[in-house]
């Protein structure tokens, strides 16, 4: 496990975002240590994806700052990848073409080198036999792996995961978190995962943050999360107990 003592790759301070009158992020502060896996938990619709899109530059915050380690967001964002909740794969391109796309458009590699790198990326995630398949011909789990292969093919330093386990069954969720942890070790990236799968996130993450009412309500290790006295944090950690208590009432 990687703790908060490592130098931050990303620092968020006072981040605010509102849509019309609706304030989604009020004042979010978060430090992401280099090489760590940090999961941002929170209820559905609380603004987790908005937070991630602000980090990726897809949304412009109304206030606050997203500071990368070298202080230049534009250049650093080229070393980030984003795994979308719905995968955002190009449905008219094959699996190989999907993975090759960022290499074709952002590097000066030759055609053969691009094809080989893309094939290697597919192979590393067990998709080499499906290189010529279109995303629609693949299962949900395979599409997720394909999206991850595309996100990792450019060797990013920071990968932002938006609900990577959405729509997957429990074994599928475990497989995705296992894949993230193993690939982090192999490719040496920092991961920010937005999710509401609490047990999996606690097991796989170095640090956990809880987003509530537009602010980070808790930030710490999984053990600290489990031991927290905060009622909101506890409602997330002990959601089965909470459900039973509600039903008993």
């Amino acid at each position: 496990m990687i703790g908060a003592s490592l130098p931050p790759i990303l620092e968020v301070s006072g981040l605010r975002k509102q849509f019309g009158e609706h304030v989604v992020l009020d004042s979010v502060n978060l430090v992401v240590p280099r090489g760590s896996i940090i999961s941002v938990l929170g209820r559905s619709g609380i603004g987790k994806s908005v937070f991630l899109k602000c980090l990726a530059g897809l949304l412009t915050p109304d206030a606050g700052e997203v500071r990368f380690e070298n202080g230049r967001p534009g250049r650093f964002r080229r070393r980030c990848s984003y795994l979308f909740q719905g995968n955002a794969l190009f449905d008219s391109l094959t699996a190989l073409e999907n993975v090759a796309l960022p290499l074709e458009q952002t590097t000066r590699f030759g055609r053969r080198e691009i094809a080989q790198t893309a094939r290697d990326a597919l192979k590393s995630l067990g998709l080499d036999k499906f290189a010529d398949h279109f995303p629609a011909q693949m299962s949900g789990g395979m599409q997720k792996r394909l999206a991850l292969a595309r996100a990792l093919v450019t060797r990013p330093e920071l990968v932002l995961f938006d609900e990577p386990t959405a729509g997957l069954d429990p074994p599928g969720r475990n497989a995705v978190f296992e894949m993230i942890v193993r690939d982090r070790q192999r490719f040496d990236f920092t991961a920010v995962i937005v999710t509401h799968d609490v047990p999996e996130a606690l097991a796989a993450s170095d640090r956990v943050a809880l987003l509530e009412e537009g602010r980070i309500r808790f930030e710490g290790t999984a053990a600290e999360f489990a031991a927290s006295d905060d009622c909101i944090v506890r409602s997330f950690g002990d959601n089965i107990v909470t459900l039973r208590t509600s039903l008993d009432k």
Partner: protein, 261 residues
């Protein structure tokens, strides 16, 4: 009264803002070419999409337009004893007006609608956001090749429309109604000047750029359609793109003609 003024004011402001947004979009797409990698491959695909796939329909419509012009022209001109200038009538009508306008409307109906729908689906399924996060300029990747393809496809299809239309005029005027073929073709040869061809190609170029930019913009902004989302937003954007592009073609035609005539 105040409410009416407010509605008119709001709509006027929205229209001006929309025009500004479109102009910025088109300018950014046009200037994205140097930074776009493998533009050639995507350009060839776009030329195929707008040119090759639209060619059969353009030629069929061109043939029937020529046939109708030949018929109508012959009967009207024969009343005044001027059937001999049928070639002049058909060639100038086609070259200066019908070929660029009808050609553009056909391409908008076939390729423009497909472009708006495809880009709308890209937007709907976050593929455009994915391009941004991969460090790829979505305008350079999706729009620039299509704008550059319009510079080639529209003039070529317009010329094809004109040629087939002239043949259609010959078919109905000479082969069906008995006008001498030599008279028809010599009138065509004498009537069409370089300035007419220049007007025809200029219109084709302008219509191509305007219509493809409008269709691309409509798809690109599918997520901004008020009151609709998802597949409905894509269908509304596609319809909007085709309607706006068709109206813009006719408006631009009037303006270009009034400057050139």
């Amino acid at each position: 009264m105040m409410r009416l003024l407010r509605v008119v004011g709001q709509n006027s402001l929205a229209t001006v803002a929309g025009l500004g947004d479109f102009a910025t979009f088109a300018l950014r797409a046009a200037t994205a070419a140097p930074a776009t990698r493998h533009l050639g491959r995507r350009w060839i695909r776009a030329v195929h999409e707008q040119g090759v796939r639209c060619l059969p329909v353009v030629m069929i419509v061109g043939l029937f337009a020529g046939l109708v012009l030949g018929l109508q022209g012959y009967y009207v001109l024969a009343r005044f004893g001027s059937a001999g200038v049928l070639g002049t009538f058909v060639s100038l009508t086609l070259t200066r007006e019908l070929a660029p306008v009808l050609g553009a409307l056909i391409i908008v109906g076939q390729a423009g609608s497909a472009i708006a729908a495809e880009i709308g689906i890209h937007r709907n399924s976050e593929q455009i956001d994915a391009l941004t996060t991969m460090g790829i300029d979505p305008l350079g990747y999706l729009v620039t090749p299509r704008l550059l393809a319009a510079l080639i496809a529209f003039p070529i299809l317009t010329v094809a429309f004109t040629m087939v239309g002239l043949a259609g005029g010959y078919l109905s005027g000479s082969l069906l109604l008995g006008l001498d073929g030599g008279v028809y073709w010599s009138a065509v040869h004498a009537a069409v000047r370089v300035a007419d061809v220049r007007e025809c190609l200029s219109k084709a170029l302008v219509f191509g750029l305007i219509t493809i930019a409008i269709c691309c913009h409509s798809g690109f902004t599918a997520h901004q359609r008020a009151g609709v989302s998802g597949s409905r937003a894509v269908s509304v954007s596609t319809t909007r793109g085709v309607v706006l592009a068709s109206v813009a073609t006719l408006a631009a035609d009037y303006m270009i003609t009034s400057f050139l005539v």
